[in-house]
């Protein structure tokens, strides 16, 4: 990837976006592994995912330029128009998520919400282990919620495969490396998109609120 096209080095992904992204990658894998015999760890991992997802949604409204939903979520018309161009073998220059990638992000965030939401109420087959809010539901309902929890994980797996597949497609077919920017935060673009930056206090506020909600949920809302 040492082709050096002319362009500007842009600070595309801010630290919070990258940290949330890779933390979710790690925790999703970990939660999957821990779901079999380490449900204690699975729960702790889930609380971290709650905090990360809530923060990411907040950051989608309060974060820096490319992190904002308003900067990448597009209507069906724009998305279809983009879809028609996607197979052309030219590098992608969207400053952030393209309209298709936006669907991927929104879908993954929604499924993650279903995932942690059901996890809070799910009850294990032995009845011994359950989410922190599982005492609000019957054994029977808790078991049904646990089945949805498994089902939505299948959906999450499918979305992850699609997401990784798309990134590889961009890398191989379009020769656009989307992975490195998600690590370094920097990307070479034809022109500076003039992305805004969020002040630090917004970050602090989001971390505090998301963390507090996740903590309260982990306590089963019992204080």
């Amino acid at each position: 990837m040492s082709d050096a096209p002319s362009g500007v080095r842009v600070r595309l992904w801010d630290g919070p976006v990258r940290l949330v992204h890779w933390s979710l990658v790690g925790l999703t894998g970990f939660s999957w592994w821990a779901s079999e015999d380490h449900l204690d760890w699975h729960q702790w991992s889930g609380y971290a995912v709650v905090a990360l997802v809530l923060f990411r949604i907040y950051w989608g409204f309060a974060g820096s330029g490319a992190a904002r939903f308003s900067s990448f979520v597009r209507g069906p018309g724009t998305t279809l128009a983009y879809l028609k161009t996607v197979s052309s073998r030219v590098p992608s220059t969207t400053p952030g998520h393209n309209p298709l990638g936006a669907l991927s992000i929104v879908a993954i965030l929604l499924v993650l919400l279903v995932q942690v939401g059901t996890g809070l109420f799910a009850v294990d087959i032995d009845a011994y282990q359950g989410g922190p809010l599982s005492d609000r539901v019957s054994f029977d309902l808790g078991r049904q919620i646990a089945e949805i929890h498994e089902l939505s994980f299948r959906a999450l797996q499918a979305l992850v495969v699609l997401h990784v597949g798309a990134v590889l497609f961009y890398l191989v077919w379009k020769r656009t490396d989307l992975i490195r920017p998600m690590i370094t935060g920097q990307r070479l673009l034809p022109s500076d998109p003039g992305l805004g930056r969020a002040p630090w206090w917004r970050l602090a506020l989001g971390v505090a609120v998301a963390g507090a909600i996740a903590w309260a949920l982990s306590k089963g809302l019992r204080f």
Partner: protein
């Protein structure tokens, strides 16, 4: 920009509803006892399912209660008594031929019958733990009940890991 955003939001909501509908299929799993005539083996398989539901519900009632700062001791004692009765009867819930051949959704593995000695030992181990839980509840010491919950759950899992195959609806 605003209209585009709201279109995106509508799309997101539609996606969410789609997920929820798909997930709703999971509820098909919970079948109640069928009406009409059944073979004794099929009847046993369905009864077993209902009994395990009762056992799980009773254990969950104990766990939920002990999470409270002021547990209802009478409810805990009632639930552990139910658990003891069910755990004692548990080995009789598995007449030969009452596996998947009797009820397609049965999660009973064939080794329950091919490894009858091992299954019997696992069931006995569970009875011992449930009995200890019941004794703790009778003593009225809720910390003792809390301490015995893990071992009891472990004995359920011990049997499930070996003699149960999880089935999707």
């Amino acid at each position: 920009m605003t209209t585009l955003m709201s279109k995106g939001a509508t799309l997101a909501v539609a996606l969410g509803i789609g997920t929820a509908i798909t997930a709703g299929g999971a509820f098909a799993h919970n079948d109640s006892m069928p009406k009409g005539k059944m073979t004794p083996a099929a009847h046993a398989a369905h009864m077993r399912h209902e009994n395990f539901e009762k056992l799980g519900a009773a254990f969950k009632a104990v766990i939920d209660e002990t999470k409270k700062s002021d547990p209802d001791k009478a409810l805990v004692q009632k639930s552990t008594k139910t658990m003891t009765t069910l755990a004692t009867a548990l080995p009789t819930w598995f007449p030969r031929g009452s596996g998947v051949e009797a009820r397609a959704k049965s999660e009973a593995k064939a080794n329950i019958w091919t490894d009858a000695a091992g299954f019997s030992a696992a069931a006995s181990a569970s009875q011992v733990q449930v009995s200890k839980l019941n004794q703790a509840a009778i003593s009225g010491n809720m910390d003792a009940v809390r301490a015995q919950i893990r071992a009891t759950g472990g004995s359920c899992k011990g049997c499930h890991d070996k003699y149960r195959q999880e089935k999707k609806s």
